[in-house]
Subunit: 154 residues, 2 copies
């Protein structure tokens, strides 16, 4: 809670010293490259993120997918509408609980996903290449730590 306006313009940081700026612009840059590379599949990096969750494990409901991605369940509707219309996923009522939709990749969707994921992976490798193998893996580890740990006292 320190409120000392003690220093003059010497304390003004450049954007490249600000962690939030760096995280945002690194993300925007990578997202831009990834979206450009995924354009030929007709999907965005956002779609690929959802497909990853859907492909990643056991049958997922819309709400579970939304939860993992950190978006609202209402936001999943339009996203899945587009993926279903493109023949990439199908909605199927859950057998155990007919309120829920189980989301599954179609055969086409799974093949496309695997190709798209390889492309996205290659883009990431290029993007992080400047850091070297160790630098890139250190970056990932640090980011994982930040994402996993809640800051309690702000």
């Amino acid at each position: 809670m320190s409120s000392r306006a003690d220093s003059g313009s010497a304390s003004v940081r450049y954007p490249h010293e600000v962690l939030g700026y760096l995280l945002k612009h690194a993300h925007l840059a990578l997202e831009g490259y990834t979206d450009a590379a995924l354009a030929r599949f007709g999907i965005t990096s956002r779609d690929l993120g959802a497909l990853r969750v859907i492909a990643g494990g056991k049958a997922r409901s819309q709400q579970e997918v939304a939860g993992v991605l950190g978006v609202d369940r209402t936001s999943m509707v339009a996203l899945l509408d587009a993926l279903e219309q493109a023949g990439i996923v199908v909605r199927r009522p859950s057998e155990g609980d007919r309120r829920r939709n189980v989301i599954e990749l179609t055969k086409f969707g799974r093949e496309m996903f695997l190709d798209a994921e390889q492309v996205a992976l290659a883009v990431e490798k290029d993007f992080a290449g400047i850091l070297g193998d160790k630098g890139a893996s250190d970056l990932r580890r640090s980011l994982r730590a930040l994402v996993a740990s809640p800051v309690l006292d702000v």
Copy 2:
């Protein structure tokens, strides 16, 4: 350009292995904490980013500020409208070129900015604290490298 769909579900990555996911969620988390801490100043982290550029140096036009932040000049209008209405900045026609507005902090704005920047800095320190001093500075250096270097061949 490798398109080998060679592996089965073993190649499906968890979101926490995906660099774009980590960058996005780390940014969202930090932005959330920062916005909460800045609420008492009546500004957002986005506003603070603009104030940083305005406070940082020589007289800036709206378009220069927008350029540094990587947003469109049209997006600056509403942002500056709010800051000006709150008495934080003033627009002044440039003497050399009367098409341009020079953006300056008011006395109140400068004092508030310095306080707000201290608060934002403290939030960042808490947020990155889990990494330790070296880890945090390594993270910054890596992100700076990513933001600075364009990926040419995607």
